[in-house]
Subunit: 119 residues, 2 copies
């Protein structure tokens, strides 16, 4: 969620909508969360899944998710270092949110499945 970090909005109804967006917005957070719902992953795995993300951005987004209590970071003190990211309890509560976003995207945002026969 770019813009100012969780700026307190003048909370009229509808504010909760923005409040939620603050957490999942931010160019990569949605996808990161989506992948972490599948399973815990290490940094390099996420990086591969996101493909075009830079190290800097991935780190930054993960840090924000961590700071918002949505993602947990586990450091395994090995050589070479291994760091794993998983969803917290709070993070898991976002499951319905992410899924609704994905469903709408599949149905309305992406071009069109271009079916071979029926339409």
């Amino acid at each position: 969620m770019p813009r100012t970090r969780h700026a307190r909005l003048d909370c009229s109804p509808g504010c909760a909508v923005e409040a939620t967006l603050q957490f999942i917005d931010g160019k990569w957070k949605g996808v990161i969360l989506f992948h972490l719902f599948e399973r815990t992953m290490r940094f390099s795995e996420l990086r591969r899944r996101l493909a075009s993300v830079t190290q800097r951005m991935l780190t930054a987004q993960l840090r924000e998710l961590e700071r918002d209590g949505l993602v947990a970071r586990t450091i395994h003190p090995e050589i070479p270092p291994r760091v794993e990211y998983s969803l917290t309890e709070r993070g898991r509560t976002l499951h319905p949110v992410i899924m609704v976003l994905k469903d709408w995207g599949d149905m309305h945002a992406l071009p069109a499945p271009a079916p071979s026969a029926a339409a």
Copy 2:
């Protein structure tokens, strides 16, 4: 949705999540849509509901929503001018999305209702 306008992402699964966010992100779009679900509103009404939005931003966000086919703009040729904004069919399909966002926000994002007695 700030960042680059609907940049085509490398669509792996999870892309649909971002794709949806592209439409409802953007500091005010979520709330604008939320209010338009209630009813059609004119520019000044929306402005009052958003309170801290500037004219420039409200216009910009509405233009993007219009361009994405989510909101319809109706100009009533009167003096003084009256312009009304309403949801399109496509816009209405976002209802479950916005509601899930609102519900999560109410439950997890906002401080805490601070009840007088029970907790």
